[in-house]
């Protein structure tokens, strides 16, 4: 390297580190936005608390005027990936365009999660949590879903519920209590230890919904058993459900989540009958 180049490089490095001096212009700085998505803070009367909800909409040209779209309600904010992924998957014809409604919390409210996701109280290490599942269910079905249907081109008959871990338990309980609430359910790595009663519900539940149960192959045995048991009960002869069970080889409790989105979303929401795009 020439001495002159070295000197220039050194000068540039110095300039860059000196009190955040910019070697060129920063025109603006802001928070990074999520393309095609609106963010809401809703106050729920049923729960008496706020929820942070992000609604991702497919690219404009994919939605014809007057067309209604399926809706996927993803718990735990879709871990921040379900929304953007669904948008790209629809744009690349990997899935039917759908609205993705990711339900989560302001960071300061995150501790409420077990209360909202568990229908029954759960005691661990002397601490009891849960019991707010019915109220959270009411928020989703009686407050949020109608809002989405009133403000977006949403097809009320094609809504799906997607929960992982404790969210998977919640989804299993909704399925058992009122299967017709959604047209499809994704129950991912259900953390049944927090509510073994959800299995009883699965034992007797009936309906025509599509159900997708998943687990990572390296999860603890209790998790593998939970997924297998819930699948077996939902897929029993006479239940009426269309059940897919998927074990992700080499994956743990959370690591397969993006891959799950890539597989499950196209599986649970097949395009409506009629000519394709």
């Amino acid at each position: 390297m020439h001495f002159r180049q070295l000197a220039f490089a050194a000068a540039l490095a110095l300039a860059a580190t000196a009190a955040v001096a910019e070697p060129f212009s920063v025109i603006s700085k802001s928070q990074a936005k999520q393309p095609g998505a609106d963010e809401y803070l809703f106050h729920s009367e049923r729960v008496g608390q706020d929820f942070l909800v992000e609604v991702t909409v497919p690219f404009g040209p994919l939605v014809k005027p007057g067309q209604k779209l399926p809706v996927i309600y993803a718990l735990d904010g879709g871990y921040g990936v379900a929304g953007p992924l669904s948008r790209v998957m629809a744009a690349t014809s990997s899935m039917n365009p759908a609205l993705l409604v990711a339900v989560g919390y302001k960071p300061s409210d995150y501790a409420r999660r077990p209360t909202d996701l568990l229908h029954r109280p759960w005691t661990r290490d002397g601490k009891t949590q849960g019991g707010g599942g019915a109220a959270f269910e009411a928020f989703l079905l009686e407050e949020l879903k109608p809002y989405i249907e009133a403000n977006y081109p949403a097809d009320a008959t094609r809504a799906a519920l997607f929960g992982h871990s404790m969210g998977g338990v919640f989804a299993a309980n909704v399925l058992a209590r009122r299967p017709d609430a959604f047209a499809a359910y994704v129950i991912a790595s259900p953390f049944l230890e927090s509510d073994p009663g959800a299995l009883d519900g699965a034992r007797t539940a009936k309906g025509a919904q599509r159900i997708y149960v998943s687990v990572g192959a390296t999860e603890p045995k209790s998790q593998l058993d939970a997924a297998a048991q819930i699948s077996a009960m939902l897929a029993r002869p006479g239940s009426g459900f269309a059940v897919t069970t998927r074990v992700f080889e080499g994956e743990g409790h959370v690591s397969y989540y993006p891959a799950l989105v890539l597989e499950a979303f196209p599986a649970i929401l097949p395009p409506p009958p009629g000519p394709k795009f």
Partner: protein, 376 residues
């Protein structure tokens, strides 16, 4: 007639008033465009290209850096199609890959999309109804001479170890950066490279092959793409794989996928390959039971060289640790003085001197190590 009218109105009011079981209007506390948590967006003006760029930075949520420690970034062109940032960050947070900053480079909304010029080094020409070319060298200079130092000044990022990731025209661009300046980046992801805009690229790649110095190059293509694209991926792989090449090349064909559809799966597959975990996840078996009454000497705040603190507290029978700015995590004992954080490459070892309170701890994080002395 009037009685019927009033009855209908009364019925409407009764329904709207929220009969139990029917929809109740939910209150919108606030509403706006969705923002990415822990993300910053900059509009930067480049002197080299004369254009503005939208650069989005996603900071790893759960990863911590020790004083002086720097992380690589993954620089995704075409704004990462809006997904490489969130997906990459999730992979980092799940410890599937080493901590890295996710940088997406695109164009500000409303500005003309300059990719046809910026991503092609070859002179401008027309082909199949498109005009492209002429701006690649200047855009390369923007990335290496302007963006790199900008990132290093603001974040604990090591630009030279960063990965350049391009798809389509972006794939061609990444290939040309590799060919002209292999040490500009620490690794390259070249996806569906549009070689038809620059068929001299494979020859230049072959010339640069001996200068790889162990850098990883991941090449990807969709199995259903047109023949010329499958051949382009092959040519790039071949050019970099000859005898004398010092690049580590991997080519992946995504069966059944088209030019765009494999993109998310490629991010999942390639990011952990291009930045694999540097240090193996430490042995986390052998958790022992410790009498919580022995934790007393550990409680308190310890200060790192850069002023951040590690706060150790007790929560019931658990020992908890919290690094400034991150959530508190449980410290699981492996010995009376050594604790690990489940699922994370983090170990806290308290000074094994009888002194109470413990005067210091050593924090090992993602392969690096730092000492923190008691602050209170």
């Amino acid at each position: 007639m009037r009685r019927v009218w009033i009855s209908a109105a009364a019925l409407f009011l009764a329904l709207a008033g929220g009969v139990p079981g029917l929809a109740s209007p939910v209150k919108v506390v606030s509403q706006g465009p969705a923002v990415q948590a822990g993300g910053e967006a900059f509009v930067l003006h480049s002197e080299h290209t004369g254009r503005d760029y939208l650069v989005e930075v996603l900071v790893p949520t759960l990863s911590a850096s020790l004083p002086g420690q720097r992380f690589p970034a993954i620089i995704a062109l075409d704004g990462g199609y809006g997904i490489t940032g969130p997906m990459g960050r999730m992979l980092v947070d799940m410890a599937v890959m080493d901590p890295a900053y996710m940088i997406s480079v695109g164009y500000p909304p409303g500005a003309p999309n300059g990719r046809n010029r910026d991503l092609v080094h070859a002179p401008e020409r027309q082909q199949e109804g498109l005009t492209a070319g002429g701006g690649g060298a200047a855009f390369q200079a923007f990335l290496t001479d302007e963006l790199g130092p900008f990132l290093e000044a603001r974040y604990p990022v090591d630009a030279k170890r960063s990965i350049l990731f391009g798809h389509s025209l972006g794939g061609l661009f990444a290939a040309n950066v590799l060919a002209s300046q292999p040490n500009a980046f620490g690794g390259y992801i070249i996806a569906s490279p549009s070689l038809h805009w620059d068929d001299g690229a494979p020859m230049r790649l072959a010339k640069a092959a001996p200068s790889g110095d162990g850098r990883r190059v991941l090449i990807a293509v969709g199995g259903e793409e047109p023949q010329r694209m499958l051949e382009a991926a092959d040519k790039v792989a071949t050019a970099l794989s000859g005898p004398g090449s010092t690049f580590k090349v991997q080519k992946r064909v995504f069966a059944g996928e088209n030019h765009l559809s494999y993109y998310p799966a490629m991010v999942l597959a390639d990011f952990p390959q291009v930045l694999p975990r540097m240090a193996p996840v430490p042995d986390q078996r052998g958790a022992i039971g410790l009498d919580p009454s022995t934790y007393g000497r550990y409680l308190g705040a310890y200060r790192l060289a850069d002023g951040r603190t590690v706060t150790v507290s007790a929560q019931g029978t658990k020992l908890m640790g919290q690094l400034s700015g991150l959530p508190a995590v449980e410290l699981t004992p492996q010995s009376p003085t050594r604790f690990f954080v489940r699922g994370v490459d983090a170990v806290v070892t308290f000074d094994d001197v009888g002194a109470s309170p413990a005067p210091a701890l050593v924090l090992k994080l993602n392969g690096a190590e730092a000492r923190a002395s008691r602050a209170d």
